[in-house]
């Protein structure tokens, strides 16, 4: 599939970035037909162990972890090159949830012993934590209220925990007397029940119910927990946006290819001006998204304030969420009837867009936060 993005036309990558991108391109080329994607969907944990091991092998899981914890300490602008490809390949592994959100929450926490013990295991792929923070639909608020911790026992419910099926443990935000604290809880902890809901992309969300579950190690104290979670979530939103960019980019490539091949009224349908202009409008959306991603990863690689990061993450997530939905649904329209069948891959891109654009705040939620922060 030819890359029609403007990257090769107008952007400049460093040699190292070219290497990173090439390895990610090769990685997804293994499943260009999305057979593995289809095999894994709707069956727990929603991805195969082999994929995760290969990602660990490639060093990707440690991109955002400082070297002192065995990480590579690379930049968001590098990592995004991998994430775009993962989006293009619809790779179902919980990269953003584990290697970004969980890893970065731990890094931003204040338990050095925990970091030293756990981050290397996360990076090597041996240990997969999932973050359980959300207590309501469509909220961006990281303050824990409904899950409480008193006398060392957790009670309450966490919603929308992605990829819990393959996780070894949860990092749970809980309201204590001192404020929000992050605790680790093993997956098989007594009193913890897990209910799974199927996601449209083939993965699963979990609802975690805590009934006097013993709180494990403190991952972040009340002094830093909310901030750590908020920062890591904004980073995870950038990661999800990069995936979304991959999703929309490949959906558009497939569609442009289809427009060139498919004949109706004795002409390739891509020669009809109305379809050409529609494709162009989608292309414009994808390149706006790419531009905002470039700007945002540069900002996250610099010394921007927490607020600047929050504003940028909301700007990016709402742009990429909207654009990916628009592009993938119009891609189905441009495919005609065949696009509405499950056997056609284009529908898988729509579903990935539906999931990722609603994860960690949908475009409307992020516009709300942007307005509150900027206006």
């Amino acid at each position: 599939m030819e890359d029609i993005s403007l990257q090769s036309r107008i952007d400049v990558l460093s040699e190292e970035q070219v290497m990173i991108q090439d390895s990610a391109v090769a990685f997804i080329a293994q499943d260009e037909e999305l057979k593995k994607v289809r095999e894994n969907r709707f069956s727990q944990p929603g991805y195969d162990a082999q994929t995760w091991a290969e990602m660990a092998e490639a060093g990707w899981l440690g991109f955002l972890v400082p070297e002192e914890y065995d990480g590579i300490g690379l930049a968001f602008s590098d990592l995004s090159l991998v994430l775009i490809q993962l989006g293009k390949g619809l790779v179902p592994a919980p990269f953003s949830a584990t290697a970004v959100l969980a890893a970065r929450t731990i890094v931003k926490g204040d338990n050095e012993t925990f970091k030293k013990a756990r981050l290397p295991a996360l990076i090597s792929g041996e240990w997969k934590p999932a973050i359980a923070w959300q207590e309501a639909r469509s909220t961006l608020d990281v303050k824990a209220e409904k899950v409480t911790c008193a006398d060392g026992k957790l009670n309450g419910q966490k919603l929308f925990v992605p990829d819990a099926g393959g996780a070894d443990a949860f990092i749970v935000s809980a309201a204590s007397a001192a404020g929000t604290i992050l605790y680790m809880v093993e997956k098989d902890a007594s009193g913890l029940s897990i209910e799974y809901a199927q996601r449209v992309d083939g993965g699963f969300y979990a609802t975690l119910t805590f009934d006097n579950v013993v709180a494990g190690e403190e991952v972040a104290s009340a002094a830093v927990a909310e901030q750590a979670l908020a920062l890591a979530l904004d980073e995870a939103r950038v990661a999800a946006s990069a995936e979304l960019l991959g999703v929309m980019t490949r959906a558009l490539e497939i569609t442009v290819d289809y427009l060139t091949q498919r004949v109706q009224f004795d002409k390739p349908i891509g020669s009809f001006q109305s379809l050409q202009h529609k494709a162009v409008d989608l292309f414009v959306l994808s390149e706006i998204s790419r531009s905002v991603l470039l700007q945002t990863t540069a900002l996250f690689d610099g010394d921007a304030s927490d607020k600047e990061r929050a504003v940028a993450a909301s700007q990016l997530k709402s742009r990429c969420g909207d654009a990916a939905l628009q592009i993938t649904k119009d891609a189905i329209q441009l495919h005609g009837g065949i696009g509405y069948t499950d056997e056609c891959n284009i529908g898988l891109y729509l579903k990935k867009a539906m999931y990722l654009s609603s994860l960690w705040g949908n475009p409307t939620a992020h516009r709300g936060r942007y307005a509150a922060l900027v206006l």
Binding site: Q264, L275, Q333, S357, L359
Partner: protein, 377 residues
Amino acid sequence: MDDQAFRFHVREWLEANFPEEMRFPPRRLNFDQAMGWHKKLNEQGWVAPGWPAEHGGMGLSPYQQIIFSEELDRVGAFVIPSFGVTMLGPLLLGYGTDEQRAEYLPKILCGEHIWCQGYSEPGAGSDLASLRMSAEVDGDDYIVNGQKTWTTMAQQANMIFLLVRTDKEAKKQKGISFLLVPMDTPGITVREIDNIGGYSEFAEVFFDEVRVPRTNMVGAVNQGWTMAKALLGAERILLGSPKLAKFPLQRLQAMANDFGLFDDPVFKERFTKLHMDVEDSVAVYIRMLEVMRRGEQLGPEISILKLAVTEMFQQVTDLILDAAGEFAGTESVLPLSDGTSYKPVNTYYLSRPSTIYGGSSQVQRNILAKAVLKLPG
């Protein structure tokens, strides 16, 4: 009975008779699931609101048809429409012989015949006239060979109406005829196709040396295109029914109520805009039905309705996805406080092909540009 009295009459009867378990189902019910209800409607004489009474229909005025349809929506009826009632019936009334009417219409009403529609072929989607399924004369029969696709619920139908090519030499539109075929005729194979919602609502139908009596032709040989176009007109008013957008809007309202979204002025304004748009499309619909009531044909202008309503439908489902929050990414069926359940992504999926089938929005715009605005080229 005046319109208001008619409405209450229908409402009362539906409240008493519409099965509890069929109300607001999370997905559209198919023919098998709705057959019990069909038979109950038939006992009441209410299967075919638009057919004349002499043929077993209700003979309703356009406005009464809307009332009837609104009352069905009100109790949450959500059923794949009967192609026999909505499409083949009107066609036979217009073009069929007395024998054909006597043979087929009653069986549509009683549910003995369940029809599916054999129009599209692979490679002949928007460009329907390029269809290739052949029907060659062999004595008193035609021998039919080829493939249909996007045939809704072919797997449950026992009858199919077909567009076939009866003259390969003639220009595209000229050599097409209209055939009625039992699905159990030897040589017919059905392959179900899953849609993106994961359901098998349509199928491919393969014809391999299928023998069909020549008496099963509706209209004259090579006149199929004219009738197909008339039928497409009837289909487009069906496909342009505002309920397409109104029904999901009601479901959105129920979900949004439970989520407390009407306290959010931004959501409320978006909902209002769509509510008004949908009400506006009702005005277009009634204006067009009025033409049919006068016994006149609707021409290319019918495309306006389909264009407008299907676009609104998709705007409604966009807002559903937005309102659903994280549920926009799940297959979850949400229990609502009104006792029904709702799966937001289903509506979203369902809205996708509405701008594709029955002539894509691009095709509808081409029609209006040429036939109504008389633009050149």
